[in-house]
């Protein structure tokens, strides 16, 4: 795949700047579709040294739990071909410290915070949501359901439709109606569409696809697992085709449900691939470890790619790969696959979008 590296000031910068990058994730209007992925940008502070958090579509925080958490023993990370296998164990400060320090910092710096929450019981998720309800500045809630359910033999919520739905319902009920709830699904399931449908039925306003894949590495020198946690979550370009497949399948089954896609996005064309599969926005994760400037670069590359393909608006490219194989029909004639994909976006020029966003921006 061709690598695109577009920097401001290059000849086609004007064409790139002309692409309308605004998008929506359920009720959430975003100036552009490039977000951070949970667990890969902390709560924004460290990344802000390299990328202005206000210039991102949104900052999806590292998953917050009720109590502080030490995480797992080391080694916690091992590099694999085009991937990373991690077993961090959700080390974090806990909700109260997050609310006292991290959330206000994000708001102060003009970021749109999408707070990722994780729990070990339905009750913990419900309490997290209820507490966030009264915290100013929360733009959205992403529910990390790839956690073990202590009440059900440690089975991961995301792996059973009923468990996933129960968590999502609890979070939705405790979240303000104006704040979208996104369910982040695991690809380690037999039928991701079934889980997705259950989450949507339970009130999810959108879906985040995908969490890491469960994997393992054995060190052939020590002849033991490389990670202290034995197994870990695989991320990075190695899993991108799995993510594209999941986005494709879910968008095909439920084209009206907004999707935030993540899984190995390293370039603008990787982001475009997710958009064409049906994503309204993308999260950049592992790429940040490789290149802290990645979110800004990927946004610029995505804009360039869209302009090169003749898209005037990002929303017109959402799900475009699903169009029928026949030559595209005349504009506005019947099948409407192009505009269909952007069905969740409001009509152009609606007051709601104008109020929240400025002119499309490529990079600050």
């Amino acid at each position: 795949m061709a690598q695109m590296r577009v920097l401001p000031g290059q000849p086609d910068a004007a064409a790139t700047a002309a692409v309308d990058l605004r998008t929506r994730l359920a009720g959430l209007a975003l100036p552009n579709p490039v977000l951070t992925a949970s667990g890969c940008a902390g709560a924004g502070r460290e990344l802000h040294q390299f990328v202005d958090v206000a210039s991102l579509g949104a900052v999806v925080t590292k998953s917050i739990m009720l109590a502080p958490r030490a995480g797992r023993a080391t080694p916690r990370m091992v590099e694999t071909p085009s991937g990373l296998l991690n077993s961090i164990g959700l080390q974090g400060p806990g909700l109260e410290e997050f609310l006292a320090h991290d959330l206000p910092w994000l708001v102060e710096h003009g970021a749109r915070p999408v707070v990722s929450i994780a729990g070990e019981s339905v009750e913990e998720y419900a309490r997290l949501a209820a507490r966030l309800r009264h915290a100013p500045g929360v733009a959205g809630v992403e529910v990390n359901i790839s956690c073990p359910n202590v009440a059900n033999r440690g089975l991961v919520f995301a792996c059973r439709a009923t468990d996933a739905a129960t968590v999502v319902r609890a979070v939705r009920q405790n979240t303000a109606g104006s704040v979208p709830v996104l369910a982040k699904l695991s690809p380690d399931v037999t039928d991701i569409v079934e889980i997705a449908a259950a989450c949507v039925a339970a009130g999810a306003d959108g879906l985040s696809l995908i969490n890491t894949l469960l994997g393992m590495v054995i060190d052939t020198t020590t002849m033991r697992p490389s990670l202290a946690g034995v197994t870990g979550g695989l991320s990075g370009p190695a899993i991108r085709p799995v993510a594209v497949r999941c986005v494709w399948q879910v968008h095909e089954a439920m084209p009206e449900v907004p999707i935030l896609a993540m899984g190995g996005i390293l370039t603008g064309s990787d982001a475009l691939e997710m958009v064409l599969a049906g994503a309204s926005a993308v999260s950049v994760g592992t790429a940040i470890f490789h290149d802290p400037g990645a979110p800004g670069r990927i946004l610029a590359e995505l804009a360039h790619a869209l302009a090169g393909l003749g898209f005037a608006r990002l929303v017109d490219a959402v799900g475009y790969a699903h169009r029928p194989p026949e030559p595209p029909p005349d504009a506005g004639a019947g099948s409407g696959t192009v505009t269909d994909a952007g069905a969740d976006a409001p009509a152009e020029g609606s007051a709601d979008v104008e109020a929240v966003t400025g002119p499309p921006q490529v990079r600050r």
């Binding site: 990344l47 995480g71 956690c147 870990g232 695989l234 490789h290 802290p292």
Partner: protein
């Protein structure tokens, strides 16, 4: 504040079993201090190696014919460092730095003993020069498994009051380890502070020796890192805070330089009981790996 720059390789040369690389990296050299590090992306674009490689800064030149340069020293230990060793003059490199906490310097002229294991000596050479300029007495203890893995002994001899060399095979200097000669040297130099960089077991032992003699001890820890900027939580180790509480601390942003006496050396690779964020009731639940 760290920056990400497109650097240019000026030279790569062999020094014993190591490689010494000089990179033109404007904006980094000017702000770096001894003990800080840089990270380099490896493998070109695109690459299958996603984690950046972190290296202590050996030296900087704030301005020269080519602008600010930073030097790093590394051993080839895998595909990433092999790729770096194969770089040539004018090759482009993605550099982030300066990162991490530097060594803190004594306010008044003091006697400083600098202990380096292998190429862990690299940041200490620069530190020694800075300390000398501030009027400190500087003594070095440099050790390695064999002569070709010693680093910096000539530079050390140029500036230090004394330099002791140890090799495990006895090819040069005293046969043994740096920690075998450190107690005597500290007494002779009347050391107020010990600075150390090298393998973790060496740092643990140096800390014990220094603390026993009432000297303060600063160590640059060596934990494997992934992002180097404080977001991934990979490079953590148990450290006791001033409040007496153990925390899993990121060596990339709360280190790499730490007060050696705060590190729970014997517990590295574990999360000790009572660490901040562990359940008060010890019950090792089987938790699915992979959630960040």
């Amino acid at each position: 504040m760290p920056v990400q720059v497109r650097g240019e390789v000026l030279s790569v040369k062999r020094v014993g079993e190591y490689h010494e690389m000089t990179i033109v990296a404007p904006g980094i050299a000017e702000h770096a201090r001894p003990g800080q590090f840089v990270t380099l992306a490896v493998g070109g674009t695109p690459t299958s190696m996603l984690t950046r490689r972190a290296f202590s800064i050996f030296r900087v030149a704030e301005r020269g014919v080519y602008g600010g340069t930073v030097q790093v020293v590394f051993a080839v230990t895998g595909a990433g460092t092999a790729w770096l060793a194969a770089r040539r003059a004018h090759d482009s490199l993605d550099v982030v730095g300066p990162l991490g906490r530097p060594f803190s310097l004594p306010r008044d002229p003091a006697s400083a003993t600098l202990v380096g294991g292998g190429y862990g000596a690299a940041p200490l050479i620069w530190l020694g020069e800075v300390l000398r300029r501030r009027g400190a007495r500087v003594d070095f203890v440099l050790g390695a498994s064999r002569e070709t893995r010693l680093f910096g002994s000539l530079d050390a001899k140029r500036m230090a009051t004394t330099v002791a060399i140890t090799t495990e095979d006895g090819t040069v200097g005293v046969r043994g380890r740096v920690t075998d000669v450190l107690p005597t040297l500290m007494t002779r130099a009347n050391a107020d502070v010990v600075y150390a960089c090298g393998p973790m077991p060496m740092l643990a032992e140096v800390t014990r020796i220094a603390a026993d003699r009432g000297a303060s001890v600063q160590v640059a820890v060596e934990e494997s890192m992934a992002c180097g900027i404080g977001v991934c939580m990979t490079c953590v180790l148990p450290v006791v805070g001033e409040d007496g509480v153990i925390r899993m601390v990121r060596s990339c942003v709360q280190g790499p330089v730490m007060d050696g006496t705060r590190v729970r050396w014997e517990d590295i690779g574990t999360v000790p009981e009572g660490t901040w964020g562990t359940a008060p009731v010890a019950g090792a639940t089987s938790v699915r790996s992979g959630s960040r």
